[in-house]
Each structure stands twice: as C-alpha cells, then as structure tokens.
Subunit: 370 residues, 2 copies
C-alpha cells in the first residue's frame, strides 16, 4: 500500500510532519488519546457500556485502543467494514445497518462463524428468515426507527413481531434493541437537543414497555452518539453508547459544546500563488468530504482565512482583506468538515505528536461500503 | 484487494450483475467502447492530438484502451495518479497541476527518469528552479490561467518569463502551453458556452502571440474538455484535447447536448422498506460524490423517483405520489452526480455487458491525490 510506505522513513524524525507529501490526513496522537480516555471515563462513571462506532475511523489500531480503554467492542456501519476490522483481530462487533441480499447474507453467516461476539441489527422479518436459511448463528438486535425513516421498524407492534421472530429462530439470539437518533446529534443549542432527545426517548420507553409485556424485554438498549451521550446517560434508557465522532470531532460538532478536542486534520500545500488575494492548495473534493460545507482553516494562513472548493484536487485559501495569502509551498492545516466521509478518502492516518510523525496507521475499512 | 476478488467468480456468468454486493460501481462496456471510439474519430477527423484526462477514470485498463484507439497518451491531475498509471505501463503522461514541495519534486524527478514521455505543467519560476536542483529531465508546459484563478500564470508577461526560464534550464525542455477552461465546460446552452470560449480563446491567442514574438512559439497548445471539444476544434487554437468525462458522462453533462452516452452507474440495494412512501438504499456519501447534487435514478424504481442523501451509507428513493417504492432487496441503478470524485470512492469497476459481469478493473489511481 502506497500510503503506508511513502513516509515510513519519516517516522520519529523531529519536525517530519512538514515533509509529508500533501494532502495528508493527520491525527494528533495526544489529542486522540485524551478523547478516548475522556469517553471511557464518562462511560465508567455513568455505568454505561461503551461500544464506539468504528464508522468514524475505520481503523483496527484505533478500535484496539478504544477497547483497551474499556470499550466492550465496536460498531460497524456495514458488513464490509466489519469484515475488515475482524480480519485485523477486532472482536465483539455490532453491524448497525440491515444486511440485505443473498450474497451479503452468506457473507454475514460466514463472518459470524469466525468473529466472536458478532451482532447485527435487523428491521424486517425477511432478513431473519434469510439468515436462518443461510444457517447463520449470531445475536440480532431489533433496529427501531426514531422517526427519521432511514432504517428500523416503524412501531411497537413491528418491534414485538420482529423480536418474537428472532427469538423463535434456530441459531439466532434476540439481544435487544438499537435506537440511533442521528438527526438529533448536531442540534447546536444544548437545551433544544435535550428536548428533542427526551421526546424520542419517551417513544423508545413505550416500545420497550411493549416488548417487556410480551416477555421480550431487551437486554441491550444500544444507541446514542457523541452529540447526545451526556443527555442519553441522564435519561437512563440506553445501556450502551455507540459514540463515534468524539475521537476526532469536526466542523459539524464544533458548535455543540462537547468536552472533546479536534484530533483530525488535513495538511495541504500551496501549489499556485500567482494572485495577490488568494492561494491555491492541493486539496479539493478528493481531500475533504463536501456535504458538510468547506473545511475550517486551522493554521498556516492568517486568522479569518476561508477555504473555497475549486474542483477535485484544488481549493483556494482567501485571507481577510488586506492580509497576504500563504506563499507557494507553505502548508495550510484544515479541520475536517465531516470526519467519517473525509476519512473514507484516505488510505492511512499520519499520526503526529507535536510536529513529528510518530506512526502511519492503515484505514482498513476505507471504501468497504458493500 | 478485496474489491478485485469478491466477485471474480461471477465474471462471465449470465445475469450476474444482479448478484453483486452493493453499492457497486458499474461500467457498461459497449457504451464505454462507443464513447472511446467516438472521441477518437472526432480527433482524427479534426486533426487534433487526443490526450484524454485520466483523472476521470484513474484506471490503467481504460487508459490503455484510449491509447489503443489513437490517443497520444493521457493526462493525470496529480503526481500520485501519474505514478500509479506509469506503474501499470502507461507512457506519455502529462501532469496537469503544478508539483510543489521538496518531497514531491524529488518524486517527479524520479518518475521522469523511468516514465517515457512524461511532461508536467508549471506556473511559477520557483518550480522550474526546484526541478533543476533535483536534476529532473522532462518537458514542461507553461500553465496559463484562463481567468478562474486556480492555477496558471496570470498574464502574457509571466508566460514569456516562465517559458524563457524553462527554455534556459539544463535538462528541461519547453514544450508549449496548457489552457484549461474548467469553468466553461458545463454551460448548458451551447451558444453561451461558445461565446465564453471564444472570449477565452482570444485571450489565449494574445498570449501565444507574445510567446511567438519572444521566439517561444508553443509547439503544444493543450487543453479543452468534454463540454468544449467541438468548439475548441472549430476555433483552431488548441492542437491537443484533454477531454475526460466523455467516456462516462454524468449528471453535470446531462443537459449539455454532447454525443456521448452514460456508461458509468452505481447499483445500490434496498435495505430498509418499512415506510409506504420511500425505500432506503445502501448508498450515501460514501457511494456518490456529493458536491454536484443527488444522483439521478436510472432504473429499478418508478419513473420520476428521486434520491435524497441520508448519511454516509444510506439514501432514500422516493417515487412519485401514489406509486410504490422499490421493495426490500431490489436493486436501484443511479447515474453519477459527478463522475471523477464518485470513481474516487471505489477500488474497482464492475464491467458489464447487458446484465452480465464481464470484468473487474482496478482503479489504480484512486485516492492518489498526494
């Protein structure tokens, strides 16, 4: 792998971050470690199980560190991501999206046979039947739609029917429920975020009550995210947290008042500087996820500089009026607009401590959507 | 490579497209071949050199086919992309963006020594000096800013000075100029596109006249794109075309009245169908480039259905009112919103003829921005 070998010789060399070929995905190791420790301490303090969502980082090394700090395992968004992390030795993976289609169901059955503690979320009886036909042996969770209509059963009746179907199926275990309030994570005003989560948690409580009446009380109630973790703990219905973004943070969470640091960055370089009011850097649609707006400029350009996308490979950095743009060859550092799909664009993390490269970590789950 | 092996057993099996794990990047081989042949015939007819831009496809196999059909070589957007294609045996590569930074300049010098016919665009005298210091031997083109202020020299004086610097440098050859009117490619009304290109071409003519007066008449005048190729040929100033998107086409070109077919698609699968008015497919920000809007629905859902992004891994397909959404497990086929950064999300093309998988081609240049 090109990205794993290109900079190997720079590891441990003082000041080597500046010598990286750009664009480069950077992880600040001390900040990452503080984020991992802070969330682990939070989970321990509140008595919640912690199962960080690996869709954020897609990396065996980071999953290992989260588990070493106390996580019970990790979540993966897709089967391919779970296969990649399992191959790297990660156990107790929960696949949080329904796995559908004959080829994928066969792969899931095979993965369950070799991956200790594998669990998967389902939202339709056909998926249970398909797993039975494939001879799969694993624990399934009933995915409950919190109202965004992405995945999940639509109401308590469907939850009870699906839980019963799992419970009755040979080789399958009913493990509980999953409830992910994605739409509520980024509400910037903490009070408004809390009100939205109280409302959704009341709905979840009602579904759990119905399951309990039917003799299907969920052992596991998993969900939550970085934006809601403190409120979820206080509301006391979830018993496991699927937090993901807390390890990196990004533009989407920057106004949400969370106790974590930006540990993920992109270093880019000025490759054209022929205009007095802007400089062009070597990072565009292929260096940053684009759906959450432009990346914030962290350093390397005058305070108040903004970035504009200029195609697949380029963007321009525009300083405030009257200030000079960065010069040809200079490095400009950006935060990610949205961490998960930005990470998906790279083969490897360049791990730094201060201005020194201290490691290169593969992103094994990159591109493993299928 | 996971994506190259997962579906190998399906190659040549009748109807095997439906059995692919999703999301899958699909190339319709007959349509691709017709696009390659049509542009090659256009270039032959108009007497223009054809150097297709490989930033669109990033693939050794497709570059080979373009060259076999008459192209003189290919363009690459970045050094890493050029290294990847060169490793696959592709020669006569033009790197169309300035290569800046000590590590990158060393790599460029090394690539020039092993890659016959390598050329690169430059836009600053410092870059010429850096290549001389690195001992690089290759042909350089002066990149001229057509007015979008992304890369390129700012005026005729700078073009003359830079051409002179290259011409005087040991081991470097001055090959001509590059002029890429990116902003004009997607103007939908052909008349308006033509007027914009006439204006920019007049500017280019003036720069060329100044170079010629200075004894630096450009042998190569390379540029143009899929949206402008016919107008560029008629205006008669460019002598080489850098067309890229014509091989695939995408949403951005769909209203531009060009004689090429959509040959690139994304197959996704319904993985949640618990609502009467929509279905969720397994393709989101990680399956489609997002900066050019949502992907058009080509088939697998009622005519008039639209797609909405729902996160990294999901989107919903909403049929017209009163029509039923596709069912759980069904495949929905989309066009790419923007082909280049969509291709960048995948490891491989699944090449089909009709409904049968006939090949799997690696995307060697994927992610090679640095």
């Amino acid at each position: 792998m090109h990205a794993l070998t290109l900079h190997e010789h720079l590891i441990g060399r003082q000041g080597s971050r500046a010598a990286l070929n750009t664009p480069a995905l950077i992880v600040d190791l001390p900040a990452l470690e503080r984020n991992i420790a802070a969330m682990a301490a939070f989970a321990a303090r509140t008595g919640l199980r912690l199962r960080p969502h690996a869709k954020t980082h897609k990396s065996v090394e980071i999953a290992r560190r989260q588990i070493a700090a106390g996580a019970v395992g990790v979540c993966c968004a897709k089967l391919g991501e779970a296969e990649a992390l399992s191959e790297g030795g990660i156990e107790n993976i929960l696949i949080t999206s329904p796995v559908v289609g004959p080829a994928a169901v066969e792969r899931l059955a095979a993965l369950a046979a070799r991956s200790p503690g594998l669990m998967a979320a389902v939202d339709h009886p056909n998926s249970v039947d398909a797993l039975v036909r494939a001879g799969a042996a694993l624990t399934l969770l009933v995915d409950i739609d919190p109202g965004i209509h992405r995945t999940g059963v639509a109401d308590a009746d469907a939850a009870v029917a699906l839980a019963r179907r799992i419970d009755a199926a040979p080789n399958l275990s009913y493990g509980g429920v999953q409830f992910y309030c994605g739409a509520q994570q980024h509400i910037e005003v903490t009070g408004a975020r809390r009100a939205a989560l109280v409302d959704r948690t009341d709905y979840l409580k009602a579904v759990i009550a119905r399951l309990t009446e039917a003799g299907l009380a969920p052992a596991l109630v998993t969900g939550g995210g970085s934006g809601s973790h403190a409120i979820d703990a206080e509301l006391g219905v979830l018993n496991e947290l699927q937090v993901g973004s807390y390890i990196f943070m990004d533009r989407q969470y920057s106004d949400c008042d969370l106790p974590f640091e930006t540990s993920l960055m992109i270093d880019a370089r000025v490759i054209s500087a022929n205009r007095p009011t802007l400089a062009t850097v070597d990072a565009g649609f292929k260096a940053f996820a684009t759906e959450a707006g432009p990346p914030p400029v962290l350093s390397g350009a005058p305070a108040g500089s903004v970035y504009h996308f200029m195609g697949d490979e380029h963007g321009c950095v525009v300083p405030p009026r009257g200030e000079a743009p960065p010069r040809l060859g200079e490095v400009v550092t950006f935060a990610a607009p949205h961490c998960d799909p930005t990470v998906n664009l790279y083969e490897a993390y360049h791990v730094v401590a201060g201005d020194t490269l201290v490691g290169i970590w593969a992103i094994e789950g990159r591109g493993r959507s299928a």
